[in-house]
């Protein structure tokens, strides 16, 4: 069990017998403090409310809507928003509300998978290149090279190779986002690696795997988590852009990007096809950005005095 510095001090003061009880008290006190600081942080609160709303919308609106997102109704093409079709209908007469809702599941699903995959792979690459300087040279040159491509072009090219499938959108966006995350992990890991306690571990003969995973990883987790919210947001944008270019989620399955693509053709007659998916993209990205900013202030009080 890893103890915090304050806990070690406490153990010395009260003796090992009373320590267990006290430690639990201390930890729950710290948790309470964190919750209080969370509520005091406006961005974090507003961001999480927005994200909560979106998750509820994505999960439950398909139950509320009476229409299937794929059901074509030629008689009601391009209806403006009304009592039956809350967001109007699209150029095939499909109900826009259920399409936006079902698109929310796709977009948020893609964004979430990208964030998790990028975190895992980026963390492994970043950690090992920070630890082994030979690997560092090779991996970082490859990252430099990948970062020289505009991410959307790289993603479009990868989609051309893999074919238009939702899973391939996840792969394409993940590949284009890994290098920058790996770089961030690497630079935070490099700082930790120079600390005296890591040197002490090495002197004691701890294996490099143990040092990396048990002693470096816990210390880089908070910047990593903050970055993940941003990767999530960028993934949502990239997925929408890819689908908007016709290289993402294939029709007829809805995603916010390909609804916008359909909407562009009829932009003169059907504003709702641009405005509604647009609002949801903005809400999601804004929510994630606010949440990320708030989290950054909460997890690392030193990093951003300037942004308070």
């Amino acid at each position: 069990m890893r103890l915090m510095t304050s806990e070690v001090k406490l153990r010395d003061e009260v003796g090992i017998g009373n320590f267990k009880v006290m430690k639990n008290k201390l930890r729950s006190e710290q948790r309470r403090l964190f919750v209080r600081r969370f509520w005091a942080n406006k961005s974090a609160v507003i961001g999480s409310i927005m994200l909560l709303f979106l998750s509820v919308f994505a999960l439950f609106s398909p139950l509320v809507s009476q229409f299937s997102p794929l059901e074509i109704d030629p008689l009601n093409r391009l209806d403006s928003p009304n009592g039956t079709h809350w967001f109007g209908t699209d150029n095939f007469g499909r109900d826009l509300f259920s399409r936006v809702a079902s698109g929310a599941q796709v977009s948020i699903g893609v964004g979430f998978s990208v964030a998790i995959l990028t975190a895992v792979i980026g963390m492994i690459i970043g950690l090992y290149s920070a630890y082994y300087s030979v690997l560092d040279h090779i991996l970082m040159r490859i990252c430099d090279a990948l970062m020289a491509f505009p991410d959307i072009l790289l993603a479009v090219a990868i989609m051309a190779v893999l074919g238009p499938q939702p899973i391939n959108v996840v792969i394409a966006v993940t590949i284009s986002k890994i290098p920058s995350l790996a770089r961030i992990v690497r630079s935070s890991a490099l700082v930790i690696k120079e600390q005296t306690y890591i040197e002490a571990m090495q002197a004691q003969g701890a294996s490099s795997g143990r040092i990396i995973w048990r002693h470096i990883v816990p210390n880089i987790l908070s910047p990593l988590i903050v970055q993940l919210t941003y990767v999530f947001a960028v993934a949502i944008i990239l997925e929408a852009a890819l689908s908007f270019l016709g290289a993402g989620i294939p029709a007829p399955d809805p995603s916010w990007g390909n609804i916008l693509f359909d909407g562009k053709v009829v932009i003169f007659s059907a504003w709702w096809m641009t405005v509604f998916p647009g609002i949801f993209i903005i809400l999601t990205v804004l929510g994630l950005n606010l949440f990320g900013d708030g989290l950054r202030d909460l997890l690392d009080p030193h990093s951003n005095k300037a942004n308070k």
Binding site: A148, F149, L153, V161, L245, G263, K264, V275
Partner: protein
């Protein structure tokens, strides 16, 4: 300084090589044989075979790579199968709208963002500061192609102040050029402006709390001089970094923005090439974009040396 420039120049060579390898192999993994795509469905297998040989597609893949890579050093990026012209020529003929768009967007964003950031930093914690930062947060959260669609809806469709899409080159007159560029440039520059204003604000705040600023103020130097002469120059280094880093994303954004507004730029060139499986064009264009991105970063790195002599010395 010379040794520093040389060292930096040499250091991008391996990256360029890896970029070339990645581009080449990704493109060659795209399913579908370009020869049969060009000739269409009715082509006989013999015709396809002849064309494959003509294009060098029958050679082993590493030979194709060496052939292509050797050509690049002579400025030969291959020929576009569809457009019947060298890739370099196609690239040059499409670069105009993209460069114009990127530069306009960058200028708009700098003109708006740096004053906003500086004012917000000076009035830190006030309502003005909060309002600016809320606007910046919003700007950061609207993808440029979406902003493009929304602006198009408001100014093109509803108010009809500006054309919805299309392009006219500068040679036909500056106003008619700008008319088509205003909406794309604003939609592309907005995110940029948001990033730059946040960066200038936090970097100004850092600098304004330094001791030498306090000293200058204590000496009785005018407020305006302190902010604009003493602080801003030092705050410029992180701002420059952001300008360089985001110029790449500007080109990225330009690709999508161009498709929204039907601008005949690099974005359209690549997207069309991917649809048509025009290997040479995809390879050449992506490679040229990546090269220019690397070069740009190099130039910015060297510019630091000019703005801040400390960097020049420490990196020797």
């Amino acid at each position: 300084m010379k040794a520093y420039i040389l060292k930096r120049l040499l250091s991008i060579i391996p990256v360029l090589l890896i970029v070339a390898v990645i581009v080449f192999f990704i493109i060659h993994l795209i399913p579908g044989d370009p020869a049969s795509v060009i000739l269409g469905e009715e082509a006989t297998p013999e015709d396809v075979q002849t064309l494959r040989e003509e294009l060098g597609l029958n050679l082993p893949i590493y030979e194709q790579f060496i052939h292509w890579f050797a050509g690049i050093f002579q400025g030969d990026f291959g020929n576009s199968i569809y457009m019947n012209m060298p890739v370099l020529e196609a690239f040059v003929s499409h670069i105009g709208p993209t460069l114009s768009l990127a530069l306009l967007a960058q200028s708009i964003s700098i003109i708006i963002a740096i004053p906003l950031g500086v004012i917000a930093a000076k009035r830190r914690g006030t309502n003005v500061d909060q309002l600016f930062m809320i606007i910046a947060m919003l700007g950061l959260s609207i993808p440029s192609f979406l902003l493009a669609l929304l602006l198009m809806l408001i100014f093109g469709v509803n108010l009809q102040w500006l054309p919805v899409a299309g392009y006219s080159p500068v040679s036909t007159g500056l106003w008619s050029h700008l008319q088509f560029m205003i909406l794309p440039a604003i939609s592309l520059g907005a995110i940029q402006a948001a990033v730059i204003s946040r960066m200038s604000r936090s970097s100004m705040i850092d600098i304004l709390s330094m001791n030498y600023i306090k000293t200058a103020k204590a000496k009785g130097v005018k407020d305006r001089v302190v902010v604009y002469k003493h602080a801003l120059r030092n705050a410029f280094i992180p701002i420059l970094t952001i300008l360089g880093e985001t110029f790449g994303s500007l080109i990225t954004g330009a690709v999508v923005t161009e498709t929204v507004f039907n601008l005949p730029g690099i974005g359209q060139l690549v997207i069309n090439a991917i649809v048509r499986r025009d290997y040479a064009v995809i390879q050449g264009t992506i490679l040229l974009i990546a090269f220019s991105y690397l070069l740009l970063n190099l130039i910015i790195d060297l510019l630091y040396g000019l703005v801040d002599p400390r960097i020049r010395l420490s990196r020797k």
